[in-house]
Subunit: 120 residues, 3 copies
């Protein structure tokens, strides 16, 4: 486990991408909550909630979709990184390992777009 | 941190089991959603939702139970793997370490069955 | 990645703190569920739920707030530990690394208090 090992370097690169993608969902949730004025906490929706709904939390379909996508990332990306770390320790064939890392990263990014663009 | 270290090998084995168990909950959620036609996304419940409920998301008690169990796994299994990795680096006594890994793995599998089989 | 490396030792120390803080939320959820008799599972709320509400799950605002805080921890602490582990492998400057670990740990503890004490 050091950057002299090329497989570890590639693992670190692709893990970094998928972890950053997962954390970007937090930002997207925040922005969507602001835009739709749909807040989870009373102190937020009292001050800035939808006009006429000041007393109640507002559930917004887009916010909930992004949160489901974020949770799905947690359920899949974190196990990928942990299993990947153990996998790197088994001294795998570099090209096989790289193929797995690329496939997972590509499919995760595809999943995010596919999930967040609702079918008409 | 290499497979020449027997404690790391055992840690990798038991971590693999509990992470796979956690990921199996995703599959169980999918299958239960299909069987009960209880979907979270409009594009799914419009096409395949319960007859007469086409326009609304259906919340199913079994699906929600499996999702709570999955979240509970994330809350416990991931910290176990991360703390376990740091623990392996402290060069622990192999038999003590093995006992901890086995106890956690056994209890997690017991927890899943205990949680998913509702009391009558 | 061994305790001979001082950066790794510090990383392990601060990671341990934030992971334990995350896991403490489970305990807090349990205690708050008991105190408010607000349970998620039918087998729990049938036996010990609020008098007069025996048949229905009770959603408690404080329990939901703690659960949101716990999920927020999972979304932020786990990526910190994983990215941190990769960061330690890049042989960073010890004082810079220590500053980052301390800042994250301090801010996470501050976040928890700030989130759990609702504004009046």
């Amino acid at each position: 486990l050091s950057f002299e090992n090329p497989v570890f370097g590639q693992f670190a690169f692709y893990s970094g991408i998928v972890i950053c993608k997962t954390m970007a969902m937090s930002l997207l949730t925040s922005v969507t909550r602001m835009k739709n004025r749909a807040f989870a906490n009373p102190e937020d929706y009292k001050l800035r909630g939808k006009p006429g709904d000041e007393g109640k939390p507002v559930t917004n379909a887009t916010v909930e979709r992004i949160r489901r996508c974020h949770l799905n990332d947690l359920e899949n990306v974190i196990p990928f990184v942990l299993i990947g770390l153990l996998y790197v320790c088994t001294k795998p064939d570099p090209s096989t390992a790289l193929m797995h890392f690329r496939a997972f990263t590509g499919l995760r990014i595809f999943h995010t777009f596919a999930y967040l663009i609702p079918l008409p």
